[in-house]
Subunit: 163 residues, 2 copies
């Protein structure tokens, strides 16, 4: 019943292991992205590509989900607009607000990014075992839905935690 990690001295803390894995995997993604025609997209831009879809989202909305300030996201969006990946259109419902949405190029980049992520994930499934990676994803989705629902609105209604 009592979970006991191994030797306390010769042992890397779990958050550290998770971070190492995250960075290793993300590095593979970035390597491929940088060889593509979207090499000017930096990790920071991710908060926009990750959340924006279709009609667009308000700055405030993105900031909340990404757990960043409006100012920070505003700067990131400025940059994406200048690079031709995003645009701001006036919100018909509120003259203060603007809807941030992707340009055609932006949507192409988003689609390409998703494909790359899937590719890298398949590569790891091959390297470490399909069942293990599937189990990893399942566990992590449960954790994300429980511990960071703001960052994972997609999973909010999907994972009922413990049935």
């Amino acid at each position: 019943m009592t979970y006991v990690p191994k030797d306390p001295a010769n042992w890397i803390p779990l958050p550290g292991l998770l971070e190492i894995a995250s960075e290793a995997l993300f590095a593979e993604f970035r390597e491929e992205l940088e060889r593509s025609e979207y090499s000017d997209i930096r990790p920071t831009h991710g908060c926009v590509f990750r959340f924006v879809q279709g009609e667009g989202l308000r700055l405030t909305e993105i900031a909340e989900r990404a757990k960043l300030t409006k100012q920070s996201v505003g700067e990131i969006v400025d940059d994406l607009v200048q690079r031709g990946y995003a645009k701001r259109i006036p919100d018909p419902d509120d003259r203060r607000a603007k809807l941030i949405c992707l340009t055609e190029r932006g949507e192409a980049a988003q689609a390409h990014g998703r494909k790359l992520f899937a590719k890298v994930e398949r590569r790891w499934a091959q390297r470490y075992g399909a069942e293990r990676i599937a189990a990893l994803r399942e566990l992590l989705e449960e954790i994300a839905a429980t511990d960071a629902p703001f960052a994972a609105p997609e999973l909010a209604h999907a994972e009922p935690a413990a049935a």
Copy 2:
């Protein structure tokens, strides 16, 4: 055989999930650390507490393992020295070098930190299932040993990758 992630649209990339989990877990650790008598220790200081042990390590050595520049680690060590957690002693074998090691207080903080990490890991084992967390750690250690051996010298001789 072919590993297929779910719906490509309604789906968070694996590196993102890993990062969310890492940050959630790390946040629990920091929360407890900040309520302790070591509340002035910041995440950056981790690279020293993580690698330094006993006799001490050279700056160059720490920098290599942490994948940081010597200057960056130097600054971090300056900070830890000023706060009373670390000290530099001249290396008897090389008059240019200094061995960075922990003070008594530093070692106490290190021990406390390790205990906290273990505690948080047990808490997650209880929340998400002991077997699943054990499997998670096992997989992540294999990944760390394969994809980032520099960051995990402890695992270098432990995991024979794929037998």
